[in-house]
Symmetry: C2
Subunit: 576 residues, 2 copies
């Protein structure tokens, strides 16, 4: 056990209190993750030098109904960027939502030049187009292996293997040294598209000298190497060969390599493949048009063809692997899909992994397939899924190739960052040169000394329909309060002259649970009437604020005592 | 792949639609799980013969904030029991909440005689006492190995090993044959308390002939045997020996064997042990008083002693392993515990497993320990936890010992039941003699033929404070609706004479997110005023229902169009 393990973290914590915001001095290089650390998603990193800012990724994260009721998605807080220096460009490392999903929201604030590989840009343009913001961005395609001059930065891109095609990492040359961002990566010696992680380029970068490495920590707790994507092919092929009926397969829509293997396995086992739903169809079409998906002759068919063929001749591929309630997969599980039914002999191949928080929903989905008589194959029964994130040895190899002077483990929870630091320690990087950054913690290097004691604003912005809000807003707290015990509206009309109760009180409750609600509300009305009448007995014009407070207090006490409940109380006191 | 896999399930589904409720015929034996199948918790099983009913277990399950906002706990629906024959008794197999937690609610309906082992009864009395219902129950202690005559049933109890002490299974002799309920079990050849699963008794029961076996399916997907409880001792001891600072250890408060090992390991490594919080203290005291926990001299201390000693001399044991927000552990993680602080060098031993749905909260808890500089040891780093449920080979051994004619896999999700059926198939029990029951699906045997085509009411009852409700109630739907977009109250006063708008409309919103809420509400007020005034133009006394409908429809449309939001609309239309 390393005694240092926690101490560095502890320093960060105390720095948090002294949070302040001054721009980095002109001769200082800074690297600031503004999302993506300590949570799943919302990657957004700034590299600053000499008054210029480079952005790497601009992702979103998905809300959790418990913490964020009614919220559609969560994007980074752009307020620090608003005060930062001139933005020279935004680089997207790959096309997953947690790296590209907030781009449209940033474009709403400012026009940008966006750099990425062909497939990444194609995915990124999707939401930007939906929000009508295409003209705010200049999309510039770059290629892994290429370079890009965005002064004072000189970028070199290197290909990486991941669960989406065309991923890359980026080496950012600066006047004070090179900062490398790994992107999301694993090593794969025999990738489906033949496009390996560019080990040779990394070795050269390492020889040139890397000042700081930001590296993906997601799976660093797992021993060994993450197996290559082809390792799922035998499992997929077994499933397709053995299933007595139709095969339903679910994975992320952008996982082109997975679908390539499904298409190939289908071709080899005499099945056709049909994408289910708009996003799956769209992604397949896109990947095919751009040349990332090679479709064997006659294998890709439409739903009508699948319905005509005997079930054992087809594979239906679908999104919905996270239990999304409106996906085709959820409707198949519920038996409410209008075109297809799951029948005994069918097989669900769950070719994905649960995002933390979705386990229960996914469990229910899988049970429903069983309930309809299907067999279900998951990672537990057979190798039908493999991660796109490198394990311990992948992480080690990255460190060995790049030999960074400073190490900034990112992309993962703190537990993963701590494990990644331990790995770096094994590889000879002392703990004082490893910085476990939190979101908004700015790492700086002045040419001699590195530090990370400044915290910049790095909150989150919740998006709900057309509105946005802060995570600790009154609206969110009201929603959390409302879902517990609902609300009670009390409308009562008082005389302007002497406060006499002329109308009501009339109570209306929603979301409040009580054994005899009507009887209880009648009693509560009586209490409100009594306290307001008592006030009126003085014969003076009413104090309206006091009347509202009295109503609220009386009802709060009443429901607390009678139901142990705390509904939101709304006094609607009318002046008559 | 077995083609039969799903078909039996499919028949159950169609039976569901034809659900009907007739009592079993007098000469028919029936077994009905009314909870505990397809979900975690709420075990409640009825065995009926000749107009007499035996109840096995009466547990609760914990709600999930997404599905059950504001709900405290979920208990079985007792309505079928109300129509069933005379209850001869209730047997508790062990003291976990999912087996005993709803007892008090059943006692509120009817007095009962409750049978269980000493420790089980001690735990069961807890909530019953809190709810002031002790006099409604007659608690009768039974011992594993003993027999009990509850005519027409003859019960024999057998000891099992589980993650709570004093667990048992029960063999219920009936005129038509013996039904065995396994309880929650694993085989453990060297249990901490020396109390083995009574293999010899099971073998004898098997020789006598078992008509039907209900057996725990929870971990049947896992290969091999579940390791014995002692297998965690080396990991615990390593953690206590190596930690440079204080050790915090969390597990379920009723896991006496785990705490026995912690006490012993502490004694061997020169540490003292302090229980944190009321429930942990209470459980330890109880287990000690009843003789289930042997405390080495001087090892158990109070908080004041721990605060005096250097951190490396103590272990603090706490509940809160599921991330419960008000537990001592959560306060330690947040840094808000009034008496203790987590410091660098401290170690959290997470000696438990996440209940599905709690993963995110627990992840946050663990990250917070890392954030304070602690090290965290979980199942991933070392063997510091082992399940109390048997794996595949434990399940197989149960089947081999009892050789049941019919098999009813219970306690687990459908995916586990399906796997358990496959195991039984391997052991020579054909699929037509295996019944994958759903909650409320009544299995019957008339002496010759078994069937399971009747579904009795087996819903759930949600408990919220002092009230109860059904899962699909209006109240629950209102809460789910309210947490999405909140509500808008519109108070408006109309003239009784001609419908003229005399007061308002005045809008008040809570939980609604909008870029300029006040401005928007003012616009909405204008729209409502306009539509109501238009009605008033006819000069007739208003139709009050129509006025309310108009207000609601106008506002619904308005917020849908302007915010893509659907707040709950409450029209408070006053007659002036």
């Amino acid at each position: 056990m390393e005694v240092q393990a926690g101490q560095v973290v502890q320093e960060r914590l105390s720095g948090d209190k002294a949070a302040e915001l001054a721009p980095p001095s002109p001769g200082v290089l800074s690297v600031t993750p503004l999302g993506g650390v300590g949570e799943v998603g919302k990657n957004f990193t700034l590299i600053e030098y000499g008054g210029k800012t480079l952005i790497i990724d601009c992702g979103l994260r998905f809300p959790n109904v418990a913490e964020h009721p009614g919220i559609d998605l969560i994007i980074p807080d752009f307020s620090y960027l608003r005060q930062a220096g001139e933005v020279v460009g935004l680089v997207l490392t790959h096309g997953h939502e947690d790296h590209i999903g907030a781009l449209a929201f940033l474009l709403r604030e400012r026009p940008l030049t966006v750099y990425g590989t062909r497939y990444t840009l194609a995915l990124a343009q999707g939401r930007v187009r939906e929000m009508g913001l295409l003209e705010r961005a200049r999309f510039v395609e770059v290629a892994a292996g290429g370079t890009l001059e965005l002064r004072p930065f000189r970028l070199r891109f290197f290909s990486v293997c991941h669960s989406v095609c065309d991923g890359m990492g980026v080496a950012v040359g600066t006047p004070l040294g090179m900062v490398v961002h790994s992107g999301d990566f694993k090593f794969d010696s025999d990738p489906v598209d033949g496009r390996r992680l560019d080990r040779e380029l990394l070795r050269r970068l390492g020889e040139e000298g890397v000042l700081a490495l930001m590296s993906d920590s997601t799976n660093v707790e797992l021993p060994g190497w993450t197996p290559g994507e082809r390792s799922v092919r035998p499992g997929l092929e077994r499933a397709l060969a053995d299933a007595p009926g139709r095969v339903f397969l679910t994975s992320f829509a952008s996982h082109v390599h997975r679908f390539q293997q499904v298409l190939d396995a289908a071709s080899d086992t005499g099945r056709v493949v049909c994408p289910l739903g708009r996003s799956m169809e769209g992604n397949m079409r896109l990947a095919r048009e751009l040349g990332y998906l090679r479709v064997p002759e006659g294998v890709l068919v439409d739903l009508a063809t699948v319905q005509r063929l005997p079930p054992e001749r087809s594979v239906v591929v679908s999104t919905g692997s996270q239990g999304e309630p409106r996906s085709g997969l959820a409707r198949l599980a519920d038996g409410t899909h209008s075109d297809l039914k799951v029948a005994p002999g069918d097989v669900l191949v769950y070719s994905a992994r649960a995002i933390p928080g979705n386990e229960r929903t996914i469990g229910a989905l899988i049970n429903n397939f069983y309930r309809r008589g299907a067999e279900v194959i998951t990672e537990r029964n057979d190798r039908v899924h493999v991660s796109g994130h490198g394990s311990r040895e992948d992480g080690r190899e990255m460190l060995r190739l790049l030999k960074p002077r400073f190490f900034l483990p990112v992309h993962g929870e703190l537990r993963h960052q701590v494990n990644h630091r331990r790995l770096a320690y094994d590889e000879g990087i002392p703990s004082e040169r490893v910085f476990l950054l939190e979101n908004g913690q700015r790492w700086t290097f002045d040419g001699a000394r590195a530090a990370a004691d400044v915290f910049v604003p790095a909150g989150e912005v919740l998006v709900d329909g057309l509105a946005t809000d802060e995570p600790d807003s009154v609206v969110l707290r009201d929603r959390q309060h409302l879902r517990e015990d609902g609300f009670v509206v009390c409308s009562v009309g008082l005389s302007r002259r002497d406060g006499e109760v002329l109308q009501g009180p009339h109570l209306l409750a929603r979301g409040l649970m009580a054994p005899d609600l009507d009887g209880l509300l009648a009693q509560a009305e009586g209490q409100v009437h009594a306290v307001l009448s008592e006030q009126a007995a003085y014969g003076k014009p009413p104090d309206w604020d006091q009347a509202r407070d009295l109503t609220t207090t009386t009802l709060k006490r009443f429901f607390k005592k009678r139901l142990q409940a705390r509904p939101v109380i709304v006094p609607a006191v009318l002046e008559l």
